[in-house]
Symmetry: C2
């Protein structure tokens, strides 16, 4: 069973909840927009379904609703931002804006963030650069669920990377992907359907292959992009590690198995080597490399050529990164956002907590 | 059959060949050092085995032995370098040095390169940053051999990414990987052994799965990291695309299926949209984010924690990216570089071309 909600209804509700937590009007609006961008783009696992999780983290004293987010270290093209334990949904746009401002002057801007929380989908932050004719980059570390190649210990999060590149007449190139074989959201979809996971997505706590989509609840682990050594899992492990290091070792956040967990019932790790979650953002002016019109003309040609690549049997076209999410945004703007009953129930309970009705 | 050569013998020989092509003394030395670093690090496919390929490209007029390599566009943190059709082995260190020099002043430096050729292994260029207490990044596009997800057309090269991150007491973290499931070098090893390739490495020209390690010679294609859509090949496709765009669309090199091929007998594509191959380099001072000693202390802790992650059954330890290549360098420095007879034969023929003996 699903119910369908308009964007504006969910937006008003979500804003009210964040205000209920004590966020400023402006921060609540930013956080609601960022959170709901996931639902609009078809990445339901990172959207309003997580609102109750953010509220529980706040109740547990792990989220500061009125953070003093600030730059604590900088050079002409870099900065470190301390999120003061604020919502990542608010800290991330602040830090991405710092990267964009640096890029305006220095050509590029690179910002590593400490003391933050989960920031929603990486892509929406990277896309902030597009309106400035810049390439945007966003990544974050996350609670450890992933086994490095040759290991059976949870050492890395799904550590996503997003890269948004402007084009001319075509929509932008927007890649946004976890550095694991499959995202946690894909596992959750299988769990709801009682379906099995393909081999290569997860292993059990002993390190053995399994198709059990519920295995994470029994100590199982996710696998890095590539699945196994023979298929390049050491590359996915390296990518996830780079995200962890750029996000957390550069900034002074907590890294690897010490990254703070999203579920509020999971205790914060002992002896955390840094503060909170870490993110990393980049912005590169395209005209820091060549005139913007030249770049866009060639980016259009790149997109056209790849879109027209010969399809393999059983497929009718080749996609450009960002196509499915953009198409979903159009559909959801027209038809609304479908939510499964369990999520609706959780939202109603969250609303009651603050005396807000989900109408 | 293999013969073993000391580094210094191969270095002298390779220098002489590059000088024979007309390279300056200094350029020949740089090119030989970069090329042989692949053999030393155990990536034989990109080492001296390719020397005859470079010579054939030069004979075909596609490599300029006396290039005027220069910055053609710049901002405080960026530059575009035109390689003037020089050896990538020489153009790449020049461009990486520009990135390092920019980073000294602006905190980071980012250089996109056009009009270059194959640059050897990406890792050796990224590692130039380490001695400056900087993180180094190197990537390059390459001749199209790879099918985007849902396609059966060769659109991307193996487009490697290398990231080198300095540590304190531990050796640096050095990731260097093709954005395909397996590298071309791994396929060549199977070909020599007449062995089959695992499913998920390659497809035939019709787009069907195959285990034929020789399939590239019959129009087959390599698969992006992830192998198939279910296992995340759209992520490998996105990564390879990002490398192509940063290396070639940003700089004005030739991109996608128009990237110039390495084998001199393959004609240059018609209507190339830019000049030569493209590369992309980055350098980030670690003290552009936090004091270098703090960063190194935490990077050491990161490395120790991951090295001590619980191994999965059948494995005795977890590796840090760069471990296998560094261990191989120690072995090869002691025991020399083994070359298969076919490579030795090609080298002797190349030597004869210039009146140089491989002793």
């Amino acid at each position: 069973m699903e119910s369908v909600f308009s964007y504006s209804r969910l937006y008003e509700f979500t804003c009210s909840v964040f205000r209920g937590m004590g966020c400023s009007e402006a921060d609540a609006a930013v956080a609601a927009r960022v959170l709901l961008s996931a639902d609009m783009r078809g990445i339901e696992s990172h959207g309003v379904a997580r609102l109750s999780g953010y509220v529980r983290l706040w109740e547990a004293g792990r989220i500061n609703a009125l953070p003093d987010i600030k730059i604590v270290y900088e050079t002409p093209s870099t900065a470190v931002v301390d999120g003061d334990a604020g919502l990542g949904l608010v800290v991330a746009p602040y830090a991405m804006q710092v990267a964009i401002d640096k890029a305006k002057i220095a050509g590029t801007g690179w910002v590593s963030v400490r003391n933050s929380n989960h920031f929603g989908i990486a892509g929406i932050h990277a896309m902030m650069a597009l309106e400035h004719d810049m390439t945007g980059i966003a990544m974050t570390n996350a609670s450890a669920l992933v086994a490095p190649t040759f290991s059976k210990e949870r050492m890395l999060g799904t550590n996503p990377i997003a890269v948004a590149i402007p084009a001319g007449n075509h929509p932008a190139f927007v890649a946004d992907f976890a550095t694991t074989t499959a995202s946690n959201g894909k596992l959750e979809i299988l769990q709801r359907k009682n379906a099995e996971a393909p081999l290569g997505w997860v292993i059990d706590k002993e390190g053995s292959e399994t198709t059990d989509a519920n295995i994470l609840k029994q100590g199982g682990l996710m696998l890095p992009l590539g699945s196994d050594r023979e298929h390049g899992s050491h590359k996915g492990y390296a990518l996830g590690s780079i995200v962890d290091i750029f996000s957390a070792v550069l900034s002074g956040a907590s890294y690897g198995p010490w990254a703070p967990p999203f579920p509020a019932y999971v205790p914060v790790p002992q002896d955390m080597p840094g503060k909170g979650l870490g993110h990393f953002f980049g912005a590169m002016r395209v005209d820091a490399f060549r005139p913007a019109n030249e770049f866009k003309q060639h980016m259009d040609q790149w997109i056209e050529r790849f879109r027209n690549a010969t399809p393999a049997p059983g497929h009718d076209k080749v996609l450009i990164p960002g196509d499915p999410e953009r198409e979903m945004e159009v559909i959801r703007a027209q038809e609304g956002i479908p939510l499964v009953e369990s999520v609706v129930g959780e939202l109603r309970a969250v609303g009651e907590r603050f005396g807000i009705q989900l109408v």
